[in-house]
């Protein structure tokens, strides 16, 4: 089997963000970077599938500046066989369709049976790229999977719906799947596998931007306005507890 896993490098979401100079995105300086959480589930599911079927070739793909190779090494240490880095310093500004176009242009003649990716990124969060890759390649796609089973070209998944309901969906390869949190338990790379990953192929290629046209741009990126009314309490823990209990007595009926 030939499997592609598309991952993204994102900042740690607990970071203190700042707006960049042209006010279109967050400032990329001084941030800690990691693999998009949703993509960790995509990598894990692909590695598990390889363990199940015995023979499969796992290519992990990531778009961005040179620094994304650090994140790709984690995917290689988790069990991907090779990495393809599409070098693009402007990736963070590109809209989902353009990113999907770059992935589709790479994947078009590679005959991937399955493409796994996260259902969305933690920073941009559009949830568009995976489905758009499928559409551009003429493949089927199923989004938001929380359960995956493969048997001889047939894929059975569960999709997560609103309110905790799941739908059971049957599809066939070639197929794009977008992964929801909780699909599996992503493994931590072991030290021997981290060492092995250093020897795996990690190819950097130039982006192919053909075939799609950008159709949108960010007018402005900004912090949400703080709503008035919300009280902020700071200080010593015992003092804070007294203040909070007093407030609950005054403002709610629950301590009657």
């Amino acid at each position: 089997m030939n499997i592609l896993i598309c991952i993204k490098q994102v900042p740690d979401m607990e970071s203190k963000f700042k707006i960049n100079a042209d006010k279109t995105w967050y400032d990329r300086a001084d941030l800690a970077w990691r693999m998009n959480e949703y993509d960790e589930y995509a990598v894990e599911q692909a590695v598990r599938l390889k363990e199940q079927v015995g023979s499969a070739d796992l290519t992990v793909l990531c778009i961005g500046p040179d620094q994304v190779k650090e994140t790709m090494k984690k995917a290689l240490a988790m069990g991907c066989d090779r990495g393809v880095h599409i070098a693009d310093n402007d990736a963070h500004q590109r809209e989902p369709l353009v990113i999907a176009g770059m992935i589709a242009n790479f994947a078009r003649d590679k005959n991937f049976d399955l493409i796994f990716t996260g259902m969305q990124s933690q920073d941009r969060g559009s949830g568009q790229v995976g489905v758009m890759v499928a559409e551009l390649l003429g493949m089927d796609a199923v989004t938001t999977i929380v359960d995956f089973a493969y048997d001889n070209g047939t894929v059975n998944v569960k999709r997560e719906l609103e309110g905790g309901t799941k739908s059971l969906v049957s599809a066939a390869t070639p197929l794009v799947l977008t992964c929801q949190l909780g699909l599996n338990t992503p493994r931590y790379p072991t030290l021997p596998n981290i060492m092995k990953a250093k020897k795996k192929e990690l190819l950097t290629i130039a982006p192919d931007l053909g075939g799609v046209t950008a159709g949108q741009e960010t007018a402005a990126c900004f912090f949400p306005e703080k709503k008035g009314g919300g009280l902020v309490l700071e200080g010593d823990a015992p003092e804070l507890a007294d203040k909070l209990i007093q407030l609950l007595k005054e403002k709610t009926g629950v301590l009657a």
Binding site: M13, E14, K16, F17, T24, Y26, L97, Q120, Q122, G125, S126, G127, Q128, V131, E135, L136, D140, V142, T143, R159, E160, L161, E162, G163, G164, T165, S167, L168, V169, S170, L181, G182, T213, G215, Q216, E217, T218, A219, A220, C221, F222, F223, P224, K226, G229, G230, L231, V232, L233, A237, L240, A241, D242, L244, I245, L247, L248, T252, G253, V254
Partner: protein, 305 residues
Amino acid sequence: MKTLLVAEFREGKLRAEYTQLLAFARESQAEAAMFLVGSAADLPKFDGTLYLAEAVKHGEYSPAVHKQLLLDVIAREKPEQVVFLHSSYGWDLAPRVAVALKAAQVSEVIGVDGGLPVVPVCNAKLRRTIKAATATTVLTLQAGAFGLDDEPAGTPTVITVDTDAAGKVRCTGYEAAKIEGVDLTKANIIVSAGRGVGKPENVAMVQALAKALGGEYGASRPVVDAGWVEHSRQVGTTGSTVTPKLYVACGISGAIQHLAGMKKADFIVAINTDRDAPIGEVANVLVVADLKQFLPILTEKLQNR
């Protein structure tokens, strides 16, 4: 602006969230028609054109077929905007339509500012406004971001649509949400644990506070995914939507999906070390404190009251 709204249908029923689409159309003073793969026996209430395809024939989730039905209607209606809910149905179908139309898609719209859609960035810590340059724009609306103040009313003019398109992806059934365990929607007081509790052992502090307040304990998604708290206690779009008298969010940063599940609580207390956490947007009181220090003290004081 001519707008096509895409309503949803699941397990034989119209999804009530279609009213959020109507609210958005009303707010943007759009001339709205609606599209639904559903049933003539369960119609949305509004005065306008409804393009209706039968779910019995075309399935409730059959992306290639629904895409074709929708593209046929778009060719006929020629809307400037096609508006979906940002839901498991909407975020799955919208990009397929956007690619086919070569339309810009703007995901998870939470509002409109100066005529431009506003979307969240980085778990809602930041926002963006977006300028789309394509003839048609595809939008998905965040759950709960738009709402009608009144009950929906009216009778649509139904135009039946059909296609011979077929797809290989099939929905074969549904698995109901597990209903064993607690029903948080009935609780008056809920104390929830978020990622900020740090370790599974620390969930006990949240449970103790809930008990001292005479309420139930809940959790945000990461805590449930990690297996520290069972799913029936998850608050948010994929768990329970709750409206207690008091909601205490412990170490919950306030991801949109969580806020959607609890922001209608009467009184919200957030306890967090980060005073800029998005939970502060909906909280009546934000206590800036370390949970491990603060929760045991608060619990003890409540018990000795």
